[in-house]
């Protein structure tokens, strides 16, 4: 890395070399049979250069790539990107790596997947299903011309359990993702089976406004829109509705949302972000009041805010290094006046529990609009789940919906944002939402 940086500095004012070594393995079991095992060991490298107040970057799979410096200079000369002052603050320790996960061999992952498959089968021999386990180990190093020279390791183990319907389509699912080995409880399996069996009674909805509970994992579809709003880049461009709204109460006082890059063993915990800012715990909404945006070094300067450690080399649809760092969540955490999940559901006279949606990536995300197909949702009447609803959508805007938070549950689930995980949330009850039915 030093050699590449030194070479780059012969034709630039400043430089940063980023290296990510990834080793991952995934195991899939469907209907009790191993579908396949895929693994990878890959290196990703990125070089950023500053020269005459401008900045450019290039990506490769090797530190020895002879074209890296030239490509970064082409980018620098052709794009309008202001040079940033590379950080030098040494980060403090975070718990992002578990040797327990690192030591799991392919054989161990396969056994773990079969064990889970058997547990599901024992509890419900008549329900077909599957298990997917993915282990991911990363070593991330960053060296820059300001003196920053740090490395950290990151582990992740993700588990997905699902059932299949009589026709062979997805029934219900449950996901886990953690820096440590997640615990799959009997309660979770029982819940999965209960929801699957409710699929036997399908219910058609009319157009209706009603209380709605989003399960923790589905909160990701809404949090993608929360993220679009607090993204410093969108605020500066004027595509976020949150320009000049810091300090205003925009959501219900019953909800607090923060982004915690330092969370011990979180799905996206990091010692530093992909431009060297230490991982931080940033409160976005405190009891409904907008407190901070998520910003990188350059945006922070323009918005008069310290960088929040959210500049990450990924995109909405890819975890590979595709471009320069952009603003993404680390571990988004939803909090509030927590109530037991069962009590929340029991208190609903007529409403919906939504555990799966489609279309999270469509519509005007930054404006907060959503129009989601409810792929997995259950009608609640007098506190009891009645059956699975069919062919309904939920539509609205998060800046209306989040004013109506009634309760926040206790049991945290990992949130999913299209392809990837984005933090943790319990179930959240909204007083009223528009359901588009038959």
């Amino acid at each position: 890395m030093r050699q590449l940086l030194n070479k780059a500095l012969t034709s630039a004012d400043g430089g940063e070399v980023y290296k990510r070594d990834v080793h991952s393995t995934s195991v899939d079991i469907k209907l009790g049979k191993l579908k396949g095992i895929n693994a990878e060991k890959k290196r990703e490298v990125s070089l950023r250069l500053t020269k005459n107040g401008l900045m450019g970057a290039a990506v490769s799979t090797s530190l020895e790539d002879e074209t890296l410096v030239d490509r970064a200079l082409i980018a620098l000369e052709n794009q309008k990107s202001d040079a940033v002052k590379f950080p030098s603050e040494p980060p403090r320790m975070v718990f992002s790596f578990s040797p327990e996960v690192d030591q799991l061999k392919t054989e161990d992952l396969t056994k773990m997947a079969f064990d889970l498959s058997h547990r599901l089968k024992e509890k419900a021999p008549d329900i077909p299903g599957g298990v997917r386990i993915q282990k991911n180990i990363k070593r991330i190093s960053l060296l820059n011309s300001a003196g920053f020279n740090e490395t950290y390791d990151h582990s992740n183990l993700s588990i997905s359990l699902y059932t299949l319907t009589e026709k062979g389509f997805m029934g219900t699912s449950k996901e886990y993702s953690s820096g440590k080995v997640p615990e799959v409880t009997d309660r979770d399996l029982d819940r999965l089976i209960q929801l699957h069996r409710l699929g036997n009674q399908t219910i058609t909805m009319e157009n209706e406004k009603m209380p709605v509970v989003f399960s923790g994992n589905v909160m990701g579809a809404l949090m993608l829109r929360v993220l679009g709003g607090v993204n410093g880049g969108n605020v500066l461009k004027g595509t976020s509705p949150l320009q000049d709204k810091i300090g205003e109460k925009l959501f219900s006082e019953k909800i607090t949302i923060r982004d915690d890059g330092k969370m011990a063993f979180g799905v996206n915990t990091c010692l530093f972000d992909d431009e060297g800012t230490p991982g931080k715990n940033t409160v976005l909404y405190e009891k409904g009041v907008l407190k901070n945006y998520l910003v990188n070094i350059e945006q922070g300067k323009k918005l008069n805010q310290e960088p929040t450690g959210n500049a990450l080399k990924r995109t909405l649809f890819s975890k590979e290094i595709e471009d320069t760092p952009a603003i993404f969540d680390t571990n988004l955490i939803i909090e509030g006046d927590h109530q037991e999940d069962e009590l929340i559901l029991k208190g609903i006279k007529r409403g919906l529990l939504i555990t799966g949606v489609m279309g999270a990536h469509t519509g005007n995300i930054n404006r907060g609009d959503f129009s989601l197909n409810i792929s997995s949702g259950y009608l609640i009447e007098n506190g009891k789940l009645q059956g699975k609803i069919k062919g309904a959508m939920i539509t609205g805007n998060i800046y209306d919906l989040f004013k109506n938070v009634e309760a926040v549950g206790m049991h945290y689930e990992v949130m999913r944002s299209i392809f990837y995980h984005m933090g943790y949330s319990p179930m959240v009850l909204f007083k009223e939402a528009s359901i588009v039915g038959k």
Binding site: T61, K167, N207, L372
Partner: protein
């Protein structure tokens, strides 16, 4: 690329294959103010697979020195799978495919491409009610070597370039977003002289500010070719990917060939060999030569898309549809260019047949989960008593696949393909995925207004 090095590394026993790839992706992006991002990404790496046990083991790597370890790891993974799976048919094609567009984007400087993007940006931004703009030039070139230990040796170049724009019009608090795409193939010259299309799209985006929202509910709808292509891709195309059926007998029964899915004169095909679209290619990433597949013929399920493994398990012929985003991923079954073939109706006849409905234009992304699908559209027009009356906005569609296919009542007489592709499956976004359709009329479609 040292072909001999890779050939020597290929184990003799069991079924083994290797894909090694030089990958480059050039991006020029601009926001409202200026071109703020130019990048040329270059990556190199490989992916090996071994079938020695009851299923494939695969391993991706970026350091060519890891190749022996990669084969060992893939074999260990395959051996962990109980049983012994054999492929019934294996590609042994030998070919070298190169690209030769009439104007090769790789011969042009970054500044020339930037200049063209700037020209279109200038046209869009000259309208005062444009509130946001994302403009994007992309160019992806891959040189892929595919080898297996049964004699396949395919080296194939693939090139795609295009421009996409996301145009937002803004008036007070109201915003409307549309998308515009050019190119989607190897020829840079198809990006030139698009001023008229750009101005038409800008006007449409501005007009949407005057459009009325629609009350959610069920409507008779006409989907234009772009939305029809998205519908058939999301709602049906993914189910025709046969890797979803492996080990899932119930789904395989649901998708039994011959099952009636739609009206008699409804036909769906997938054809990677149709040149000039995002999903056009010669060989797939297992070295199988791609061929057109009839998926629905005269309303009945007539075929499906296969990899070597899915064809073997289902005892059908491979179709050449196993592809991967890049070397970092194992190939999975993907659509090439899927489309609804032309029927007999004119657009005028379709509009005249609707008393109370919608004509929807411009796809804006979609998703499917088994039987149900959802997708957003850029805008539409209200149809009342057989005539288009006014523009409508903020629309998303949802439906149940089998019901919706049966509700297709009319098919237009001309197929148009979309200029932008893109499809996500198994964590891989593949930009080389094309879609097209004739306009279609569907009765009783679920519409979610905002």
């Amino acid at each position: 690329m040292d072909i001999q090095y890779f050939k020597k590394a290929l184990p003799i026993k069991d079924f083994c294959d290797l894909r090694y790839q030089d990958f480059s992706h050039t991006t020029i992006k601009g926001g409202m103010e200026e071109i703020d991002e130019v990048s040329i990404v270059k990556k190199t790496g490989g992916n090996v697979r071994v079938l020695s046990g009851g299923g494939f083991g695969s391993f991706a790597f970026t350091d060519p020195k890891d190749i022996t370890m990669a084969f060992q790891e893939a074999k260990t993974a395959s051996d962990l799978n109980p049983g012994k799976e054999e492929l019934k048919r294996i590609s042994a094609n030998v070919a070298h495919i190169t690209v030769s567009p009439s104007q090769d984007p790789r011969d042009l400087s970054i500044s020339r491409k930037k200049e063209l993007l700037e020209k279109y940006r200038g046209l869009i931004l000259s309208h005062p009610e444009i509130g946001d703009l994302e403009s994007h030039y992309y160019e992806q070139f891959t040189d892929t070597l595919i080898l297996n230990n049964h004699g396949a040796e395919v080296q194939q170049e693939e090139l795609i370039c295009g421009m996409t724009f996301r145009i937002t019009a803004k008036r007070g608090n109201l915003t409307q977003l549309t998308r515009l795409s050019f190119g989607g193939n190897e020829d840079y010259s198809e990006l030139l002289n698009k001023e008229e299309e750009v101005l038409e799209k800008v006007q449409q985006t501005i007009d949407l500010l005057e459009a009325k929202p629609v009350k959610g509910g069920n409507y008779d709808v006409i989907l234009d070719s772009d939305v029809g292509g998205l519908f058939i891709h999301e709602a049906f195309g993914h189910l025709s990917e046969a890797d979803n059926l492996i080990g899932n007998d119930t789904l395989a029964n649901t998708m039994e060939l011959g099952t009636p899915f739609a009206m008699d004169n409804f036909n769906v095909l997938d054809d990677p060999t149709r040149l000039g679209h995002p999903g056009s290619y010669v060989y797939d990433h297992e070295g199988t030569k791609a061929r057109p597949v009839s998926l629905i013929k005269d309303g009945r399920l007539s075929g499906r898309l296969h990899s070597l493994e899915s064809a073997s398990v289902m005892d059908e012929e491979p179709t050449g549809h196993a592809r991967a985003k890049n070397f970092g991923f194992a190939p999975i079954v993907r659509m090439g260019n899927i489309y609804i073939d032309k029927g007999k109706s004119t657009l005028e006849e379709m509009i005249a047949s609707i008393d109370d409905g919608l004509y929807l234009f411009g796809s804006a992304g979609g998703q499917t989960s088994g039987e149900t699908f959802t997708f957003a559209v850029q805008g539409g027009y209200r149809i009342e008593q057989g005539e288009i009356t006014h523009m409508v906005r903020d629309l998303a569609l949802t439906g149940h696949l089998f019901t919706t296919l049966k509700n297709i009542e009319m098919v237009g007489n001309e197929v148009t393909f979309s200029k932008a592709g893109g499809c996500g499956k198994g964590g891989q976004i593949l930009i080389q995925s094309g879609k097209g359709s004739a306009p279609i009329k569907i009765k009783n479609m679920g519409i979610g207004g905002l």
